[in-house]
């Protein structure tokens, strides 16, 4: 008989302490041993995790009103500008913003030692952060300048809001040019000297629910060490499943927009990063529980690194030119082995997202669910599934 479970049934099992939760790693040998049907009957929830740099991230704040009142038109936190074109004392800080006086790439490769992601990390670590704001002054908001120090606990609201996180899959970056390049995929040596990849493969949330059967608007998740929610499809969301000439299939293109209370997040799961020659950003710890409602969901949740492919892309010429035609496809098992074979050559590989941390996130989420403190939420609406999203357009330049 086919396995069918409802989310309400799974939540009832969480409350009664009978829920069976495995991480996306642990479920793989179980399915190999017992088959998808038996495993789907036994397991209620599979937890996933990823800990990688996710550029489209940021946080918004309400600082509280000043006396006399001020409509802040420009705001800096630790010298990093936040967007203040919202309301009097609201601002949004982007993870990749850098200080006005940063040397950038004037001496290439620039170091980008501090940026928006680092400010978010410092706030979460409950360090004091300088707040500077200027305003033009109005009758109702006369004040024109403030220089003070805040901590996250001083703020009325501090909310992590990331427009694009948890990229379903990602390019393996190589460099076919004849010089070392410095990218968001790390340092890439010339003539395919190395290959860098950046997902947690078999632990990665959206690779384990490629049809978005369970992950939708309102899904409760692990975000930055606290609880967060999926609020929308992420920017550039366009999930696809492509059969490959090499055999197997490429699952890629899905993304999530996520939100959560920054005040309850933890500095070890939300870390500012500096990519040499590229810029500053934020590494986000994110984990999603997948309710095993039926066998199809279990089938996808239990795919292993041997079955999950990633495209290899040249960042020396193709990617910057906007021609990301893959050079080939490799599995995460090959990537994790330390070398991949490309165009007849052995190329050493290195990850950029932390697999040990991803594993820890899946384990923490598993504990939260088993302890009864984390119930699964029914999506308010599902996100566009494979072939349901509008294909992505590139920007067309027109005469103004």
């Amino acid at each position: 008989m086919a396995v069918e479970k409802s989310l309400a049934e799974i939540n009832a099992r969480i409350k009664s302490g009978k829920v069976v939760v495995l991480t996306a790693e642990e479920v793989i040998p179980l399915v190999r041993e017992k088959g998808v049907r038996q495993a789907a009957a036994e397991v209620d929830v599979v937890t996933t995790g990823t800990f990688g740099t996710m550029c489209s991230s940021g946080a918004y704040f309400n600082f509280g009103h000043t006396k006399p009142r001020m409509k802040m038109s420009k705001v800096w936190l630790n010298n990093v500008q936040a967007y203040a074109g919202l309301a009097a004392v609201d601002a949004f800080l982007g993870a990749t913003e850098v200080p006005d006086n940063d040397p950038l790439n004037s001496i290439h490769p620039g170091e980008f030692r501090y940026g928006g992601g680092h400010v978010i990390h410092d706030l979460v670590a409950r360090k004091p952060v300088s707040l500077r704001a200027i305003a033009y002054g109005t009758d109702c908001y006369p004040r024109r300048e403030i220089n003070t120090v805040i901590t996250i606990d001083d703020l009325n609201q501090a909310v992590l809001f990331n427009p694009r996180n948890a990229y379903q899959n990602y390019n393996v970056a190589v460099n076919l040019s004849d010089r070392t390049i410095y990218t968001y995929m790390g340092v890439l040596k010339p003539h395919m000297g190395n290959a860098n990849y950046s997902t947690s493969g078999q632990l990665s949330p959206l690779l384990k629910d490629p049809y978005f059967r369970t992950i939708g608007i309102g899904t409760r998740i692990f975000l930055g060490g606290g609880t967060g929610y999926v609020v929308w499809q992420g920017t550039q969301h366009c999930p696809g499943l492509t059969p490959l000439a090499e055999g197997g299939q490429l699952v890629s293109g899905g993304t999530l927009a996520v939100i959560g209370d920054l005040k309850q997040m933890r500095p070890e799961w939300l870390v500012g990063v500096s990519f040499l020659g590229y810029g500053a950003s934020l590494t986000v710890g994110l984990g999603i529980p997948i309710p095993i409602l039926n066998e199809e969901i279990m089938y996808w949740a239990s795919r292993s690194d041997e079955e999950i492919y990633a495209p290899v892309v040249d960042y020396g010429l193709d990617y910057p030119a906007g021609n990301p035609q893959p050079l080939g496809y490799v599995t995460y098992a090959q990537l994790k082995s330390g070398t991949i074979n490309l165009q007849g050559r052995e190329v050493p590989t290195a990850p950029l997202s932390s697999y040990p941390r991803a594993r820890q996130i899946a384990a923490i989420l598993k504990d939260w669910i088993r302890e009864g403190g984390f119930l699964l939420s029914e999506p308010v609406a599902l996100l566009p599934s494979i072939n349901e999203a509008t294909p992505l357009k590139s920007l067309q330049e027109k005469e103004a």
């Binding site: 190395n194 990519f275 950003s281 590494t283 994790k336 590989t349 290195a350």
Partner: protein
């Protein structure tokens, strides 16, 4: 004697002295330059791997000290801040000596200080700034 790795730091006045030549000729040492930063009329540093008879090695180092060169064992120079490292792996491919490597199947990043040649590439490439230089 097994090869020893040392960091030499010297004053501007010493920068034009042919110290490597002297080490090889007078003390019969095998010298491998792992890293050097030497500019005319400026302070300089050099990382050497030195092999030879223990007595000659000691005398060679005495010669360097007599020129005002300070000598440190290499392993003290690059340090991993364990609380900052997230075991992402961004350092693996830039490390030329295999001192930073992935422990499989756990995929944790290990640092073998004995293999470190203090090129400092990891210090620059680490997105989390977990690799620190100690002078």
């Amino acid at each position: 004697m097994s090869p020893k790795r040392v960091v030499l730091r010297f004053m501007a006045e010493t920068a034009d002295k042919p110290i490597i030549y002297q080490l090889i000729r007078n003390y019969d040492l095998v010298v491998n330059i792992l890293k050097a930063n030497i500019n005319p009329h400026k302070e300089g540093m050099m990382v050497l791997e030195i092999q030879g008879e223990p007595e000659q090695y000691t005398r060679g180092l005495e010669y360097l000290r007599s020129l005002g060169v300070t000598i440190q064992p290499l392993s003290q120079d690059v340090h991993r801040n364990e609380t900052v490292c997230t075991h992402c792996g961004a350092c693996i491919s830039v490390c030329p000596s295999g001192a930073l490597y992935l422990e499989r199947p756990d995929m944790t990043v290990n640092f073998d200080e004995d293999k470190c040649v203090v090129c400092l590439m990891c210090v620059k490439a680490c997105p989390y700034k977990a690799m620190e230089v100690r002078f």
